[in-house]
């Protein structure tokens, strides 16, 4: 048993899939270089308006301006340029659904797929149930298609191309059911069958000419449908039309069996959209992103996959002075020629765990674009998802509750938008004797359940709580008076609200000299101030200072604060580094 999925007016369906509101309208798809722009595909509503394939753009424009006699908004035809990216996305979605249903799939044509359903009745039920199930899955990825199930692949293909909706042909009644179909269906299907697939422009033109000749011959004989062709005597037909004639007769009778040429499922999950007019605001772009993300997630779901990396590429109307945009030439092919020489803005979301929630993706992309605006209006966009196995988590009854990864990602993105990038995350200590030798990594939840084995700490060893430090970032410049080589009095050079360090030193311990990285090149002072790298040489002191209670009520209270100060040996300047707390 075989099923055929056929999408009538595929270029129209690819566009309607990206813009579902167009499904209620008459849509015509144009292609060609001006002035030779012609209609190449129409939907049924456009045909009812009187539009035809091959019309020029000017002729088609008449239908998009003048309302039909019914005089409603759907009476106007919508004209769209053909979009190869959207057709590729629609085809990939079709393949995803088919491969989720059965691994034995033949990619017969961009608009036609053949599925081998042998043995699947125990999994999915009767053929009618399988057909409805398949149709429902196609609708989830935004595609409406004709589905036919028959005993052989060619009969299923003819039925799908000839009858709209769902068609089930019981074994043995193929000739009867297919008999009413016009010969055009047979010849169209015969042309795309794998046995007859031809490459090259000249052979294709020759084949088309031959096909027209056969059609003319058969029409002259009065043969216009499958039934009359099936009734012709085989030998007489072979003597007049050759082997092709017998093949066509066999197909018209719904006979014959062939092996499917199986294809692999698509490895890339990408959705693309070309915008009719440039989009300038994030709100408008969000609608488009939402639609594309929903389709992407539906495709991933059809294949039982998730993603851990989402790449957004925006083609901008003009180049901006920004290092983050690149031209199309720097990207990997294939991209259509008409996108060349336009800047591409790319952002990548790397997720700590694999996810498949379009709303979460949308929010993350919104926050990402808010933090990194493209800088120019968007005319085309691509969203690519790197497939990954979905997250599996085995929670324990006695494990502590942890934040949900999806919500946590959004929270982290929101926090980053408030405090800036790399200001929120996990502190990771570096293997260095330098003070402040750490970096901030992206926060990601570890799998809990394995108890943390910390390195032996002071509190473990002696049952004492270690004295903690509060770091003053940046270090506060000090003016220090020395007495017998030791700090005696000090005052901070810049009195800020944060720290008011001044007074007589009650007690001091030091100096502890530390230096390092003296073998590296001396960096410029401004770079050294920003980045904790380059050589350092300092003398550290622990000091106790009197501090006055700043509380208005207890202003006379005097306490002691312990500071860590240091002298930069290279410059001789003093800084307050930390407070013991």
């Amino acid at each position: 048993m075989f099923a055929c999925i056929y999408i009538p007016d595929f270029p129209v369906e690819a566009i309607v899939r990206a813009e579902p509101l167009l499904r209620e309208h008459a849509v015509a798809v144009l292609e060609g270089k001006p002035p030779l722009v012609r209609v190449i595909a129409l939907n049924e509503k456009a045909r009812q308006l009187g539009m035809e394939i091959g019309m020029t753009k000017l002729q088609a424009a008449v239908f998009s301006r003048n309302p039909s006699p019914t005089n409603d908004s759907t009476g106007l035809a919508v004209l769209r340029q053909r979009s190869c990216e959207q057709e590729l996305s629609a085809r990939a979605a079709l393949l995803d659904v088919a491969h989720a249903f059965t691994p034995r799939v033949e990619d017969t044509a961009p608009d036609t797929l053949l599925l081998d359903l042998v043995g699947l009745d125990r999994l999915y039920g009767a053929p009618a149930k399988m057909a409805s199930d398949l149709a429902a899955r196609l609708i989830t990825v935004g595609i409406e298609a004709n589905i036919a199930i028959a005993a052989n692949p060619d009969a299923a293909m003819h039925a799908a191309r000839g009858f709209s909706g769902t068609t089930i042909i019981p074994a043995g009644s193929e000739a009867q059911r297919l008999g009413v179909l016009p010969l055009q269906v047979l010849l169209d299907a015969f042309e795309i069958s794998p046995q007859k697939k031809i490459s090259g422009e000249a052979p294709r033109r020759q084949e088309k000419k031959l096909r027209e000749q056969i059609l003319d011959t058969l029409e002259r004989w009065g043969v216009r449908d499958f039934r009359t062709l099936a009734l012709l005597p085989e030998h007489a037909l072979a003597s007049r039309l050759g082997e092709r004639g017998t093949q066509l007769r066999r197909l018209a009778r719904g006979e014959g069996m062939r092996t499917l040429v199986l294809c692999a499922p698509p490895a890339q999950f990408e959705e693309a959209l070309e915008l009719e007019s440039p989009v300038e605001t994030i709100e408008s772009l969000s609608f488009v992103l939402h639609r594309l993300l929903e389709q992407l997630c539906a495709r991933l779901e059809a294949r039982s996959l998730a993603t851990h990396e989402l790449r957004l590429r925006l083609q901008l109307e003009r180049r901006v002075a920004d290092e983050e945009t690149i031209t199309i030439d720097e990207l990997k092919p294939p991209y259509p020629h008409n996108v060349a020489h336009k800047p591409i803005f790319e952002r990548t979301l790397r997720l700590p765990v694999s996810m498949r929630d379009s709303k979460v993706f949308l929010k993350l992309l919104q926050l990402e674009l808010a933090a990194h605006p493209p800088g120019a209006p968007v005319i085309r966009l691509w969203i690519t998802a790197e497939p990954a196995p979905p997250r599996t988590a085995q929670r324990g009854l006695f494990l502590p509750v942890t934040p949900e990864p999806e919500r946590l990602e959004i929270t982290l993105a929101r926090i980053s938008s408030i405090v800036g990038e790399r200001r929120a995350g996990i502190a990771r200590l570096l293997d260095s004797h330098r003070r402040e030798s750490f970096c901030v990594d992206r926060f990601a939840l570890m799998a809990s359940g394995i108890p943390h084995i910390s390195s032996p700490t002071l509190s473990d060893a002696n049952n004492h709580i270690p004295l903690a430090l509060r770091i003053l970032r940046p270090a506060q410049p000090l003016h220090v008076d020395l007495s017998a080589g030791r700090p005696d009095t000090l005052i901070s050079e810049k009195q800020t609200e944060k720290t008011k360090i001044q007074g007589k030193v009650l007690w001091s311990a030091g100096p502890w000299r530390s230096s390092g990285d003296w073998w590296t090149e001396k960096m410029k002072q401004d770079i050294a101030a920003r980045e904790p790298s380059g050589p350092w040489d300092r003398e550290e002191w622990d000091i106790a200072l009197t501090v006055t209670n700043l509380d208005q009520e207890n202003k006379d209270d005097i306490g002691v604060a312990l500071y860590r100060i240091y002298r930069d040996v290279a410059t001789g300047n003093w800084f307050a580094d930390a407070i013991y707390d």
């Binding site: 929120a424 990771r428 700490t457 709580i465 004295l467 903690a468 306490g559």
Partner: protein, 301 residues
């Protein structure tokens, strides 16, 4: 007489709890629920990790706001790190909103904090100035936050709404008291309400209590004694100083050096002791001001 007979009869020998249950069952819905005494829900607590403080407070209550206050060098950070160490070692995910960017990862690691389970949010620097691209009217809601306190409050909101955190610490230890007092009380009420139905410990580190009645536990810390290895180098007239005697060999040599000359290594900081005072507690309605304890912290030497 008939109305008197209709009233429930109460045996005076019954215990109070059974009397109360009897009255409530007899009066049924006629008694407004607002008039009934509500028993305080028992809250789960997590240990701070410092035995005297755990004995004093019973631990930090979950689903409530706790405040640890004190001036600089009063042990607030040590207490915070101890609580964080306990939480992260219980595999809980914690968050530290660091208003003044003063968190020291090295100290935290020494205290036993599992840094991989701690989300550190550094607030002190102003948000990055973003390009206002021509032709792109993207709104950037985050970059209007100029004040650090606004950042802290906004981030705390986000973290509490996100849920799943075992402990959220707002470190306002270096924020001037004048600024901290200006935080509207409504914010603390909102935080309290947000954290109530969860198992999150919301901990506030600051110089002076500012959450008022929203806090379930307020602990005031004060430095008491500084332990150094050579007390001679300290001006005793102004501050209590204690000699450390457990490291005899080292201290003796230090003393001898100190007496012979004024070489810098004459004195070493060995630790501090602190006094903790419980100002407010969820277990006691009015804890006396004198309820306090002492604890010590040592340097890594």
């Amino acid at each position: 007489m008939s109305s008197v007979a209709a009233l429930p009869t109460i045996s005076v020998r019954r215990p109070a709890s059974s009397l109360r249950a009897h009255i409530e069952s007899s009066l049924g819905e006629r008694l407004s629920s607002t008039l009934l005494l509500r028993e305080r829900a028992t809250r789960l607590t997590v240990p701070i990790g410092i035995a005297p403080l755990d004995l004093l407070t019973g631990g930090l209550p979950r689903g409530a706001l706790s405040e640890i206050t004190g001036p600089p060098s009063s042990g607030r950070t040590g207490v915070m790190l101890s609580a964080l160490a306990g939480a992260t070692q219980r595999q809980e995910v914690c968050a530290l909103v660091d208003a003044s960017d003063s968190f020291d990862p090295a100290s935290a690691a020494t205290a036993g904090v599992n840094l991989e389970r701690l989300l550190w949010v550094r607030c002190s620097q102003p948000a990055n100035v973003k390009r206002n691209a021509i032709g792109m009217k993207y709104s950037s809601p985050g970059f209007a936050f100029s004040s650090v306190l606004e950042q802290v409050l906004k981030i705390a909101d986000l973290l509490l709404q996100s849920g799943g955190f075992g402990m959220v610490v707002l470190d306002l230890g270096d924020v001037p008291m004048e600024s901290a007092r200006r935080v509207p009380l409504a914010s603390w009420f909102r935080f309290r309400r947000a954290v109530e139905p969860t198992a999150t410990v919301l901990l506030l580190i600051e110089q002076e209590a500012c959450a008022k009645t929203c806090a379930s536990l307020v602990l005031r810390l004060q430095s008491e004694t500084i332990f150094v290895s050579n007390p001679d180098a300290f001006d005793r007239s102004q501050y209590d100083l204690r000699f450390v005697s457990h490291n005899v060999g080292y201290v003796n040599s230090a003393v001898s050096i100190s007496r012979s000359s004024s070489v810098g290594h004459a004195s070493l900081l060995r630790g501090m002791s602190f006094r903790a005072e419980m100002v407010r507690s969820w277990t006691q309605r009015k804890p006396p001001q004198s309820v306090g304890t002492h604890f010590e912290m040592r340097t890594a030497l």
